[in-house]
């Protein structure tokens, strides 16, 4: 079966991203397909490569990047939410005249249409948030 995932909260502050990660891992283990993971609202904060959590804590962002690499996951960050909150790839940084960018490996920035498309193309859409 094909799942779409929506994550509405940033890492650490809420469990949403952790729960979604565990869900996606379990779904992949069961042979399901993940059509897309869409990061919206503060969820875009899951996509910064600048985070350095303490050594004894999980690194949520690195976990997503690794899972994406292993399973070729499509991790999409909402562009409007990301610009509002300071998550940028090189391209958006240039366009906005910003002197740095911070998007982590394995994520891409795109529009809200990608979320709707995930709703249409997936057999189920599961939302994680606060």
């Amino acid at each position: 079966m094909k799942f779409g995932i929506l994550i509405n909260e940033g890492p650490y502050q809420h469990q949403a991203s952790d729960s979604a990660y565990q869900f996606v891992k379990a779904a992949l283990e069961k042979g399901h397909e993940i059509f897309r993971v869409f990061f919206y609202h503060d969820g875009v904060q899951n996509a910064t490569r600048l985070a350095s959590p303490p050594q004894d804590d999980r690194n949520i962002i690195a976990l997503w990047s690794a899972l994406a690499k292993e399973h070729n996951l499509d991790l999409v960050v909402c562009v409007a939410a990301a610009l509002r909150r300071g998550i940028l790839d090189e391209n958006e940084a240039k366009r906005g005249g910003k002197d740095a960018h911070n998007l982590a490996d394995g994520f891409r920035i795109s529009g809200l249409g990608q979320l709707i498309e995930a709703g249409i193309q997936s057999d189920r859409l599961v939302v994680f948030g606060d």
Binding site: M1, Q15, A16, S19, L125
Partner: protein, 100 residues
């Protein structure tokens, strides 16, 4: 239809709103902070017993364990699932409503 509730029923009205809108035959899965509602002897016990007459109630085991709530404390009739069981529940129902 699968409903998920991730908020404590003692601090938020998410579970209450959910139970007001579930149709008979639906399933409700408690996850994250929502799991605290699943144990015996709470102020919402009667409401859950009532709900289980028409719906199935599940609780995510890993979230329960994290909050120090042993499975022997669970209200009778609530089934424990792991993340794999969460995936199965989503697959078995045609839609999912997350009461955030």
């Amino acid at each position: 239809m699968l409903h998920t509730v991730n908020k404590s029923p003692f601090e938020r009205n998410s579970l209450n709103t959910c139970l007001g809108l579930v149709k008979p035959g639906s399933a409700v899965l408690l996850i994250e902070d929502g799991v605290v509602g699943a144990i015996k002897g709470t102020a919402i016990e009667d409401q859950l017993i009532q709900a289980m007459q028409s719906c199935k109630l599940y609780v995510l085991g890993p979230d329960l364990a994290a909050r120090g709530l042993a499975e022997d404390k669970l209200l009778d009739g609530i089934q424990v699932v792991d993340y794999g069981g969460f995936v199965d529940l989503v697959a078995e129902h045609t839609s999912v409503q997350s009461w955030l």
